[in-house]
């Protein structure tokens, strides 16, 4: 019988990276999740640190420097637990994986990209896929932002107008394509599918060419193919004679799905299982160890036994931690102690835009140096339970723009640690 060694709970970036790293290290991994996770509504980039200190006027230009400061000033931040060296290793592991999937992610800790967001804001990010990098806003060449009639999840006028206001030479164009005209529904996955067909690209290029004028680059909503995006981008560039880049659109995010698919396939290639529709609802423990996690199934709960368990269910935003009506915070599966305000009045400060931030956003699980959730005395609650991702306390991932970085780095740290234990045991 397949003996599961590592049971990972959660299919966001942290859970997938943990499972991938543990499986790559030779462990028998099963990942269970209620449904697919946050990657489906993310930009598909890796934001490591966009703003630090949080009241700084400008975005971080060198994540490495800002991280050094953050780690010094916040020794309990998830990044401080991982350490800059391992953060860098995590980024490079993901880059290697994506490169092998013909979907290179460019960038490094030395430099943040500034790329246009779905509303035309400047978006600092550390790693960006090759399909997005020509949108670099530190370059001066004028751009055209393309949208499609009937596609309601991307507004080229909004992007271009906002960019122009920030002194980026941008204007918008809308294409009314025959291929979309008689369709009743045009969604991002549908466009991604169409862009993988040469005849559709041809149609787009022909409609677009006369409208390009002196623009040196062309921004599309991020729908340039699900499996062969880089190929699609290069083909469009050849046809248009200009650089092409993608701008994230409203969810579902095609670039997020690409990363999701690459990670899921990496886990499966290593013999790991990825199972959704299986919400973990409770756990049994004995002698300080988790024995079994139960997931919801038709007419019953299904038990999963394993040697180690990883909690990657997200924080308040992801549903791994919920708030009771009285304001207490509760971790839903194991009932782990949550660090953070325990009365609703302490959740927020009085000033809405206070630079100090609101306490509830840095709530989460406190962990030891091995990422095991700890009790009030700092001792691990269970010796074989680990936590990764935004369920951890001490970060402020939204304001810092560190959501993906924290998920990736902590998932990597936990996954490699479990892989190493396997090697020791062998």
């Amino acid at each position: 019988m397949t003996q599961v060694e590592v049971l990972v709970i959660g299919a966001g970036l942290a859970g997938l990276v943990t499972a991938w790293q543990a499986a790559q290290g030779g462990r028998k991994v099963r990942l269970v999740a209620k449904g697919w996770g946050a990657l489906f509504w993310h930009a598909g980039c890796v934001d490591v640190l966009g703003y630090y200190p949080l009241d700084a006027a400008n975005a971080v230009s060198s994540p490495r420097q800002a991280l050094a400061q953050l780690v010094r000033e916040h020794p309990r931040h998830p990044y401080a637990l991982v350490g800059i060296e391992r953060i860098e290793a995590a980024l490079s592991a993901l880059q290697t994986l994506c490169e092998a999937a013909n979907y290179p992610l460019h960038g490094s800790l030395d430099h943040n990209w500034l790329l246009p967001s779905a509303v035309g804001a400047f978006r600092p990010t550390c790693l960006a896929p090759e399909t997005m990098t020509a949108g670099d806003l530190t370059r001066r060449e004028p751009m055209v932002i393309v949208g499609f009639e009937h596609f309601r999840d991307f507004y080229p006028e909004l992007v271009a107008d906002n960019l122009l206001e920030q002194e980026v030479l941008a204007r918008s164009v809308r294409l009314d394509l025959p291929a979309l005209r008689d369709r009743r529904f045009v969604t991002a996955p549908l466009l991604a599918d169409l862009f993988e067909r040469a005849d559709f690209r041809q149609q787009v290029a022909e409609a677009l060419r006369p409208k390009l004028g002196s623009a040196a680059r062309v921004g599309f909503p991020a729908v340039l193919g699900l499996r062969r995006a880089v190929e699609v981008k290069r083909d469009l560039e050849a046809m248009l004679g200009r650089e092409v880049f993608e701008i994230p659109s409203l969810p579902p995010s095609v670039p997020g799905m690409r990363l999701h698919n690459i990670l899921v396939e990496a886990i499966q290639r290593q013999g790991g299982e990825v199972l959704t529709g299986m919400e973990a609802v409770r756990a049994d423990a004995a002698n300080g160890q988790v024995q079994t996690v139960w997931t919801e199934a038709a007419a019953r709960l299904k038990p999963h036994r394993a040697r180690t368990f990883v909690l990657a269910t997200g924080g308040l935003l992801g549903g791994g931690i919920v708030a009771e009506p009285d304001g207490t915070l509760r971790e839903v599966i194991f009932g782990l102690p949550v660090e953070g305000p325990h009365e609703r009045v302490q959740w927020f400060r009085l000033d809405f835009l206070t630079p100090a931030g609101h306490p509830v956003y840095s709530s989460g699980l406190a962990v030891d140096e091995h990422f095991r959730p700890v009790d009030a005395d700092g001792a691990p609650v269970y010796t074989n339970l680990f936590a990764a991702g935004t369920t951890l306390a001490g970060g402020e991932v939204v304001r810092e723009r560190s959501f993906d970085g924290v998920a990736l780095a902590t998932g990597y740290a936990v996954g490699t640690q479990l892989a190493a234990q396997a090697q020791e045991a062998a």
């Binding site: 209620k34 529904f185 969604t187 299982e273 299904k302």
Partner: protein, 421 residues
Amino acid sequence: MGVQVQPVEVTLDNCIKCNICVTACPVTAVTDRFPGPKYEGPQAARFRHAGQPSPDLSVDYCSGCRVCNMVCPTGVKIAEINARARAFMVERGAFSWRARLRNNLLARSETIGKLGHPVAPLANALLNNPLARWAAHVVLGIDRRAPLPRLAPQRFTAWFQAHPKPSGATRQVVYFHGCSTEYYEPRVGRAAVRVLEANGFQVIVPPQNCCGLPLLSNGEFGAARAYHRSNVRKLVTFARQGHAIVGTSTSCTLTLKEEAPELLDAYDEEARLLAEHTFDLNEFLLTLAEEGTLRTDFQPVPLTAVYHPPCQYRAHRLGFPAVELLQLVPDLHISVSQVACCGIAGTYGFKREKYEIAMQVGRPLFDLVRQEGVPIVICDSETCRWQITHATGVPAVHPVEVLAVAYGHPPEGPLASLLGG
């Protein structure tokens, strides 16, 4: 261990409009006639009220595969919302009499089996007669290309009655065969009985009837309720005695466990008891393995196969018990299909207006089977097996048929021609 069930309507408030379900729905991926789970489910459901016209009849294009439910991060029961919307359409007379007649013919495989069986050769000839198929296509809307099964010469229960019961059985189990095993593929039931007996069970096959799923997925809730009630009445005594009720048809077991009580709001004490005691056969065998009471002295079965877990199997939310079992069989090499659905979805792919959609939904699976060049496909659900064979020409069997061979029983059906009968 029992579970708390969230009512279908309540779950629609959980929707956060992330569109993840839309990216996963295999039907919306291939046809513009179906906008996708989010729109049809949690969104349109807000506008469906008794006495008011339904906002969009396209919900009938939902195949009920439940792929959306499996990926939704917030637990919206989208497929159930859609199934109820279809029942609502039936109730309001939104379907023509012709469509309802066709749907009822397809959904009553038990009645067809009962009527057809005594005249099986004639019925088979008719079902395979191009002229008759053409007429059914034009008049009824049953696609003439769709993979209709053939009635078997001997019903499963007739075989079972004549089958000598083994002596020395130490435990008892109830077998739910379903209509397909009874009338079309009794070899699956024979294999199930042999595998259970090999593990020291006395197999009980009590009177039972169609689980009602085909009716549920055609919106014929009234008739489905009668079937479900009747099964509850016939089987609940066994559940009370603590017997497991195991089935080889994954959609029948899912219906008894969840679909029927949930869609029909039939969570009374008896239906609940039956649900809690119903098991998919692989699930059941795997529990035995976990307790250490499964015989694992399997003989080699030298075969390479693609295993396809049907969408209805995934909906049990058990992972892949069949894979775990088949991995114990020496010399059997399986590659597991990750394709969400073969397209047929019960009676869906038999319908003229949906046949092409179903074939396109299944295309990635058919490509996989061809590309792997395997001589056989293993799949738990009967209509999926028929669809796969129809599309690829590769025969398909239930996992338990392979296990029966691994326990030393002579292979039957497609396995006989491959392994030498």
